[in-house]
Symmetry: C2
Subunit: 230 residues, 2 copies
DNA sequence: ACAAAAGTGTTGGAGCTACACCCATGT
DNA sequence: ACATGGGTGTAGCTCCAACACTTTTGT
């Protein structure tokens, strides 16, 4: 096996969080090196003897103090030889979802700070991180249509209107509230809790929970989750 | 940047070919090393200064003498540390389509032989290559439903029945011939050539061609290609 | 004339889209 | 009493699934 290969392998993660009717991504601020003080996606080099998945979880834990609800591989970026000025680096990127309420952010190791960045005014970032974010955002939008993935961005108990807002916010489309509710409820994987939420004004909302087990059972029998819009 | 990382990066490709109503994948036989004489997916280490895409094209050219019709990144396999006994290796795998009639296979460099392997009796292969093939096969099946990708497996001019057989063979499902034809023709991206094919017995078939430009134009306006079955 | 593959229309029903008013609470 | 957000039903239409016979050629 040829032994002079000098290409590094990194993992990067686009972690989405949804709060107060807006979509955010997790960014960290570099503590060392030529990119010091710049905001970038959490991630870093894979360690010897470490799996890719482990590497992502480790970096998210170290740099942001976060455990994600959902994680999947996104894409491997390696067609821009000079994406990192230090060395040829290939980035295996991941796509993750989290409910920000669950965590208090905390930066450590090579991150000096962490923050939730509103995705709609993401600044220009070093490397190809804007491209990675775009790719992840497209994936998120696509997935919302055919996989019940929105629930990983919400608290365990949520009013139905939060789900509506999540869809309209992320997809930047209006939806027909009646049809949307009918559709979601028809799948039968969310159920009413017996609590209500009081929001200050307006009629109190039923709280719902997503039933993961029910969904998995249905999935085996081949349901086809698909949301279309008016 | 940490400098002791000792993980290699390889690319591997699952190249599908369709001929005589059967689906094949391309395998090469190793010429050197601990896996000598074994059949594996075409691929190899990425060279310094080379992009991932270039690496795949190069390996396919070198090891099999092939240029593919369609290529997309499939998945990056790196969660099994010991997938290669020589060293920790991460495989960025690709998914490719080709019409076998266009090529005469020719093995070179580290391949001592090449062949088209019928996918339905693929033997057990070294590394995690069976897993990679499975992943690619699932992707192929899924894509057939929502992307007009079958045409990359057929010659430029083909009788409609070849497309039918391609679908039934790959998806292992019967289709309703009338509904299928109506559906495909309704998209309006394949057109009749004025040639006919004589098969020996039976009524001669119209030959069709896939109009790539027309498809791209329609795609921009947002057509939704989707094939369902009886 | 018969075997083999190509070609072709219609109908019933499921599921989607479109659409607007009443309800429960706070101020 | 009014403002705010939550909750609900129906009718028309579109599009899909189901279904079988005729045409063209070779032998």
């Amino acid at each position: 096996m040829q032994n002079n290969q000098n290409i590094k392998i990194a993992v990067d993660a686009v972690v989405f969080g949804y709060q107060d009717n807006a979509l955010y991504i997790l960014l960290i601020q570099q503590k060392y090196g030529p990119y010091k003080d710049q905001w970038v996606l959490p991630g870093g080099l894979v360690q010897n003897g470490e799996t890719l998945t482990t590497a992502v979880h480790r970096e998210l834990q170290e740099e942001a103090g976060i455990k994600v609800n959902y994680l999947e591989q996104l894409y491997t970026f390696g067609d821009d030889i000079n994406r990192d000025q230090r060395n040829q680096v290939i980035s295996v990127s991941y796509f993750a979802l989290v409910n920000p309420e669950n965590f208090k952010l905390s930066a450590a190791t090579d991150a000096q700070d962490v923050k939730w960045q509103n995705i709609s005014n993401t600044p220009t970032l070093p490397f190809d991180h804007n491209l990675i974010i775009d790719t992840a955002f497209k994936r998120l939008k696509a997935k919302l249509h055919y996989q019940p993935i929105g629930f990983d961005l919400l608290p365990k108990k949520f009013p139905f209107s939060d789900l509506e807002h999540l869809y309209t916010t992320i997809l930047e489309q209006e939806i027909d509230r009646r049809n949307f509710r009918k559709k979601i409820l028809s799948f039968d994987f969310i159920k009413k809790s017996n609590e209500k939420q009081k929001t200050g004004s307006g009629r109190p909302a039923q709280l719902f929970t997503f039933d993961t087990n029910k969904y998995k059972a249905l999935e085996k029998n081949g349901i086809h989750f698909e949301i279309k819009f008016a």
